[in-house]
Amino acid sequence: MNMEINLQRRKALKTGGGVGLLALFGALGLLQSGVAFAEWNKTAFSAKTMDDALNALGVIVPENGAASIQLTVPEIAENGSVVPVTVASTLADVEQITIFVDKNPSVLAASFVLPKGTEAYITTRVKMGQTANVIALVKAGGKFYRTSKEVKVTAGGCGG
């Protein structure tokens, strides 16, 4: 694991210019280009079920977020390879937004940490293998809230 991180750092440095000064910053964790990444949550991203994913994220029972989370997804996706998802929230102190697709082989799609000053408003695009629920999990003030919406994925074109 450590080796892997080091390798990633080295590569990151190369793109940053690869000069000695940068390497020094890198060693001090002060990478100028900002590519000192946190560790990827492999357990959560490998989870096959919602329960496993929530466990990996340390979520016990999330509150109902139907009223406090605005999840915008298309009702029908003309193509499952690109499904736009927007998650916004009216809750105060939103620290984290997480998006899941409950029928995908790995249910966790993306997770966002929002530092203070960043608004609770995120748009991204996910793949969906079939008609499924898109689930948004919002962490605010130390609590988790959850809401979901179904997206129908249709058979497209002439199919040939």
């Binding site: 003309e78 390879s81 736009p84 074109g157 002439c158």
Partner: protein
Amino acid sequence: MNNSTVKKLIPLLVLATSCAATAAESEISDSDRIAQYREMISDGNPADFDEMRGEELWKSVAGPKQATLEKCDLGKGAGVVKGVYTELPRYFKDTGKVQDLESRLVTCMTTLQGIPEEVITAKPFATDKKASDISSLATYVVGQSKGIKMAVSTKHPQSKEAYEIGKRIFNYRAGPYDFACSTCHATSNVRIRMQDLPNLNVKKDAQTAYASWPAYRVSQGLTRSFQWRLNDCFRQQRFPEPKFASEATVALTMFLAVSANGGEYAGPGLKR
């Protein structure tokens, strides 16, 4: 089955015994939902990357002659890219032929850069493993016509003839399925599965359809050129393969481009 599915099924079941006109009305809502989906993905078109790649290729030396394409004449003089796509296909004196953008790019790559035609046309379409130079170049060129109205001329007799032949190819029924382009694209307000089909005999549809190609195809993750669009139509018509940038495809392009005249060019587009 959740609530929304049930709600959607009920009107269909109720309509089942009534006439087709009512059924058509209930389908509008699904079409609207598709329109909503398209609107939601309209921002952030990955075709931009192909445009960037094409621009770089245009300005880079290549081929045995180690030349760029910056002296390529696409119809408005050597090196002019702005607005050229809205007047293509057109008749070119130097080749004595009517050419569309892609066949003209072949001419420039052979004459200016010395790349043999067979090399360029062997694999003219991008795949998920390999980008296509000619396709990226086309994406770059069309991007320079955004917002300009289509104005393809048939004044030259050869242009007029290409248009007439293109119209006939549009209606040419053949193959095991008896399909022509017109089988799917000469009726208004119909669709294949969920995909609305433009009626290319109607000005407004023809303008919208033509103006959105080349396009990034979400389902393939690739930016597709107009020649590819025609190629894939013929595939689905169960035809044999049209040769790349051949007289047949250029003539058909001429017919479709003229049908789109007056419409504002809006590509490269973004499609399902």
